[in-house]
Amino acid sequence: MIIAVASGKGGTGKTLVTTALALSAGECTYIDLDVEEPNGAIFLKPDIREEIAYTVPVPVIDKDKCTFCGACARACVYHALVVIPISRSTVVFPELCHSCGVCGFVCPVEGAVRETHREIGKIRKGNRGSIQFIEGRLNIGQPSAVPLISGITSNYITGENGRLYLLDSSPGTACPVVETLKNSDYVLLVTEPTPFGLNDLELAVELVRDMGKKAGIIINKDDERQTLIDDFCRRVQLPILLRIPYSLEIQEAYSRGIPLTEVRPVMKTQLKDLMGRITDGRW
């Protein structure tokens, strides 16, 4: 079972919820896929045992073989290559490269385009008790989170029978979120009862519906006077699975990296039950 935790709006409590789920689950794999700003380790405090440099293929041009015909630059839709015949140079902009392989495919000269490995981030692995911890951490200045996310999900989600995977997503509804949700069986959307929370939740719901994913809602910083999320959920027929009260105590604990399950131990049972219902297909 793969449960992804996403939100649309940032700062609604994805990491707060995902780490609390992991700490309530017993045995599971927690994967921090908010690779631009990973914070799960702050709450789970894992023993990191391994750090792997994650690389993607990018082209290198063999100057002796290149005829500067420009075929690669014309074919690259990402404008990651520029050929200047007059100065006999072909320049690669690795940050723009999507590693698609088109340049090598269209090059008429055997061996003029080779591929080398470029590091875009780190994968860190460790444990906290029975929780297996995996985190992606994008290198600063690297624009695309997607290859690192897909590298982690394809290598570490083995689909082992019955194992629970909890994926902590990045905010928004753009490509890194799509990459995270792609492999999930269920999506938990964490929101807050404000017009910003609602606006971004609507977008997130549109995304999960487009992707054909099952989803449920968690309201964080819940305030019974604000019913806009409840009204929306009723309208689009999505279940509200959990409410986390608006509480300065929780926020203060959050500020020091203390997991929700330590401030509100009673929530452990609720969270365990929630995961049980998702796994059983009751939600």
Binding site: E37, N39, F105, I140, G172, T173, A174, N199, R256
Partner: protein, 295 residues
């Protein structure tokens, strides 16, 4: 007509929910003569507070998406084997493209031996020009799940600049996206000043450090706003130490106040709604003004 040099301020945060939109909206309320831009295209919230009028939308197309003509397809598996994004899906004999995975590179089209693959235009969003009480406002909406948010951010900024030139305005106030990836890089590219909003939480500090490294990497001048500074004074001190060590100014410390939440719930600007915030916000505005005069 002589073109004015357009200055750009962007509000970013690394961590989502730190208060970018609150700060941007409040600055929009105080800074005269600017174009307001929402560059957080996949969670654009500023319009909720600014209540734009005279909205004109234009669709934005991204990279194409591959389409397989099943009449022509001979099921040779060539596309399937070559696509590095695993975007080709086979269902029995039928080949199709998973639009969420296709990055539009065209390799499958080039490799197909029977020309069964074409590229179809893909609308990835819409950008809008509008008018608000606080000035012209340019924003966008990325289609949920779309690629190329960075290029839509670039488009929104380009349109805002054109508008600024038309109206002889020399300042863009940009609400940026969270994170450190392509939309953020696009939002901060070419700006004169980045205001980094953070909160005194361990997560906030970690994200501040990463986004500060990003602005440093791109040699962009930046300063810090500590939002809800009083929820953890120890962490606030740590942020101030970080700022000092990195020679980054702390422009303002905004206290925690339920009033901000209330203002947003009533779709009002925090600077208008919350008297208790007047002092730190005016202070922030004064510092930004001085900073801009020096650029």
């Amino acid at each position: 007509m002589e073109m004015k040099d357009i200055k750009e301020i962007v509000v970013i945060s690394g961590k989502g929910g730190a208060g970018k939109t609150t700060i941007t909206a409040s600055l929009a309320d105080m800074i005269p003569g600017k174009i307001i831009v929402d560059a957080d295209v996949d969670a654009a919230d500023l319009y909720i507070l600014l209540k734009p009028e005279k909205i004109r939308g234009t669709t934005f197309t991204g990279k194409g998406v591959a389409v397989i003509d099943n009449e022509r397809c001979i099921s040779c598996r060539r596309c399937l084997e070559m696509c590095r994004f695993h975007a080709i899906v086979v269902n029995g004999e039928k080949y199709r493209v998973d639009e969420f995975s296709c990055e539009g590179c065209t390799l499958c089209r080039l490799a197909c031996p029977v020309n069964a693959i074409t590229m179809k235009e893909r609308i990835i969003g819409e950008w809008y020009t509008s008018v608000t009480e606080w000035g012209d406002f340019v924003y966008a909406r990325l289609k949920p799940g779309a690629e190329n948010s960075g290029s839509l951010v670039a488009m929104v900024k380009r349109q805002a600049k054109l508008r600024a030139q038309e109206k002889n305005i020399d300042l863009l106030l940009i609400d940026g996206p969270p994170g450190i990836g392509c939309p953020v890089i696009s939002a901060i590219s070419g700006v004169n000043l980045a205001i980094i909003v953070t909160e005194p939480t361990y997560s906030g500090i970690s994200d501040l450090e990463r986004v500060f490294q990003l602005t440093t990497h791109f040699k962009i001048k930046s300063g810090i706003v500590i939002n809800r500074f009083d929820i953890n004074l120890e962490n606030t001190k740590e942020i101030e130490d970080f700022a000092r060590q990195n020679r980054a100014p702390v422009y303002a410390k905004i206290p925690h106040s339920d009033c901000i939440r209330e203002a947003i719930s009533q779709r009002d600007l925090p600077s208008r709604h919350c008297r208790q915030l007047a002092e730190p916000l005016v202070d922030l505005y004064e510092k930004i003004k001085t900073e801009l005069e020096g650029i």
